[in-house]
């Protein structure tokens, strides 16, 4: 990876951070409604893993904390922000919202609200890939909390049994909403939970993007070449509450502070500075340019975009002009 790629990755993580922070502001201003689950602290996970995959070609699915997975898959940030603002120009035409981003053009197959729901969907994408032929893979990002759902065990079993090319990425942020992992789960090392299903697995630091990429490269190669599942557990932490309505009061301040020292952006910035690749001034300029882009292009686009038309309220329940062979 050359210096320009490293700087690009730093910029992508910083962009993700600023994007999410701007979302929080818009939420407080009531421009964004519903539930809003933000990604600060976990940026190295989605960005690091997908850097090693083929965004736009591989099929990506995740839960409700989905903004950054969508962006890294190639979604236009303007379409993302417009969706959060409920606008017709949003990636889901204002019908989905934060938890239901979709962009099939770049193979981002959605954010889903039901915890554990995407496991079988990802296996289904892999099944379709298997039937069509081709070397794409499916990548499913979910949190540690999802692994206590039946769909986790059912899907691991079938994915392994049928050799489906799917990479399961567990973003282990140590809490299922407000319940600490050790209070909900017997085996807290999530990668060990797929051993009975004979799925290759690894666990690594999710805060250092170089470590994430190193493990993700092996994981992606395993799935792409062996055409079978792999489970990668990334140890991470959210710097904010579960959602905007969660203060995170169930976590000790010392714990939060400790993880804040391991901010993925801070780690990577320090590394690049150590290598003489970026100065403080350059970083500040990068940050400023990002915030300017978000404000002047992305938020502005969302604000100025039209709402969906009321007369279209019942559209998209069924496929319009869909196949009706009995009418032929």
């Amino acid at each position: 990876m050359d210096a320009s790629d490293q700087k690009r990755l730093l910029r992508e993580m910083l962009f993700a951070r600023r994007f999410e922070e701007r979302c929080a502001e818009a939420y407080h201003e009531r421009q964004i409604g519903g539930f809003l689950h933000l990604y600060p602290g976990e940026e190295a996970c989605a960005i690091g893993v997908l850097e090693m995959a083929r965004p736009g070609s591989d099929y990506v699915v995740t839960g409700y904390r989905d903004h950054i997975h969508a962006l890294k898959s190639g979604m236009d940030p303007k379409a993302l922000m417009a969706e959060l603002f409920g606008k017709e120009t949003g990636c889901s035409k204002g019908r989905g919202g934060s938890m239901h981003l979709f962009d099939p053009d770049v193979h981002f197959m959605g954010g889903y609200a039901l915890v554990g729901g995407p496991f079988p969907l990802a296996a289904g994408f892999a099944k379709a890939i298997q039937m069509r032929g081709g070397d794409e893979i499916a990548i499913c990002f979910l949190g540690d909390g999802a692994n206590n759902q039946g769909t986790f065990h059912e899907t691991m079993n079938m994915a392994s049994l049928w050799k489906l090319p799917v990479l399961f990425v567990c973003e282990n942020n140590l809490y299922g909403i407000g319940t600490a992992i050790e209070r909900a789960t017997v085996e807290i090392n999530q990668y060990k939970r797929v051993a009975p299903y004979k799925i290759a697995a690894a666990q690594c630091d999710g805060q250092d993007i170089d470590v994430v990429m190193q493990h993700a490269e092996a994981a992606v190669r395993h799935v792409r070449e062996k055409r079978e599942p792999y489970f990668l557990e990334l140890m991470t932490y959210r710097l904010r509450g579960h959602s905007m309505s969660d203060s995170g009061a169930y976590r000790r301040k010392e714990e939060v502070d400790e993880w804040a020292q391991r901010d993925p952006i801070g780690i990577y910035k320090a590394r690049l500075q150590g290598q003489g690749l970026i100065s403080d001034a350059e970083f500040q300029a990068m940050d400023k340019a990002i915030q300017q882009e978000i404000e002047e292009e992305i938020v502005r686009f969302a604000v100025e975009s039209p709402e969906p038309r009321l007369e279209d309220v019942a559209r998209y329940v069924y496929v319009e002009g869909g196949c009706a062979p009995w009418q032929k």
């Binding site: 019908r95 496991f119 289904g124 379709a128 499916a138 039946g150 899907t155 329940v317 496929v319 062979p325």
Partner: protein
């Protein structure tokens, strides 16, 4: 026109669609090597192989989800749930994903997913194998729900469902797999929308679906023979979306209506049809519509109690006589 059984008609639809499109595949418990609990997929495993005729583990929710995911990428899965009772376990994937993905994505993703479920009561299968869940499926926005009453419809509806770009639930009937009927030799499709008039009549309309169509037809014969009442039998067939115009058209003609359903009454086909009659053609009715339905109890094991819980043709005859004062 060949006569064949309901299960053979379903098998034929599978075979025709799988032969035509390599992205059509079937999955479910025991459907492959074992050939299916009701033989509806027998022989397909040998013909199409284990990648397209998939014996699943007993994991209804997740194999349903795998079907949904595959459908989102353009495959056309036919997922069989061994008994409609087990589809409760698959409800998350069906209801939260299959039914809503097209809408939630602003129309950008399609989900051409088919779920086949044997429904209804059979012979002393007990409360957990006798569910009638049409009221559940027909209450979910985004799904299509159809109910074949004949071998012809069992074939034609499955073929239409496979080609349809929306998720479709087909509620078959546990007691009807050996029902015989005529099925056209040439390829054909049965509409996923609209009612079918099974027997024209002028005095009263019997609205029915799936097995209750047969109770209604039997009742209509007895009403004609014994009481000189000419009943029209309308097979609702599509429970979602329901054909409001077709329902109203028949009621406007006969001015009287009885809904016959195998399900228990609170919340369901009967209440929905009567609501449609109220909304569409209240002033065309000469009498308040009635419904014949199962008792609001879990289905008992004991043979006599089971029969007492489920409606039959005699109850339909009684309801019509009450309605007409004859």
């Amino acid at each position: 026109m060949a006569e064949m059984m309901y299960w053979q008609a379903i098998l034929r639809a599978h075979d025709e669609e799988m032969a035509r499109d390599p992205l059509v595949f079937a999955m479910g418990e025991d459907i492959g090597v074992a050939g299916g609990t009701y033989k509806a997929t027998s022989g397909l495993f040998a013909k199409y192989g284990d990648q397209r005729v998939i014996d699943t583990p007993i994991s209804e929710n997740s194999y349903t989800g795998i079907g949904v995911g595959a459908a989102m990428l353009g495959c056309r899965p036919i997922v069989e749930i061994m008994s409609v009772n087990f589809s409760w376990l698959a409800m998350d994937q069906l209801m939260n994903n299959a039914a809503k993905i097209h809408f939630m994505s602003g129309g950008r993703i399609r989900c051409p997913f088919v779920m086949r479920v044997p429904g209804g009561t059979a012979h002393q299968l007990g409360a957990q194998h006798s569910a009638r869940m049409e009221k559940v499926f027909m209450g979910i926005s985004g799904l299509r729900v159809v109910t074949p009453a004949t071998p012809r419809d069992a074939c034609g509806l499955l073929k239409s469902a496979v080609r349809c770009d929306d998720p479709v639930v087909i509620i078959e009937h546990e007691s009807m797999y050996n029902l015989k009927g005529e099925v056209p030799d040439a390829e054909f499709f049965t509409p996923l929308e609209g009612v079918e008039i099974r027997r024209p009549g002028k005095d009263v309309t019997l609205f029915a679906y799936n097995i209750s169509v047969h109770w209604a037809l039997e009742a209509a014969e007895r009403l004609a023979k014994d009481f000189g009442i000419d009943a029209e039998v309308v097979d609702l067939r599509a429970l979602k979306p329901m054909d409001r115009a077709g329902i109203a058209a028949s009621a406007r003609k006969t001015h009287r209506a009885v809904v016959v359903e195998e399900d228990e009454a609170p919340v369901g086909v009967g209440s929905e049809v009567i609501a449609i009659l109220n909304e569409e053609c209240f002033f065309d009715l000469d009498a308040a519509p009635l419904r014949v339905h199962a008792l609001d109890i879990p289905i008992p094991y004991n043979r006599r109690l089971e029969k007492a819980a489920i409606p039959n043709a005699a109850q339909v005859v009684d309801a019509v006589r009450k309605l007409l004062g004859k």
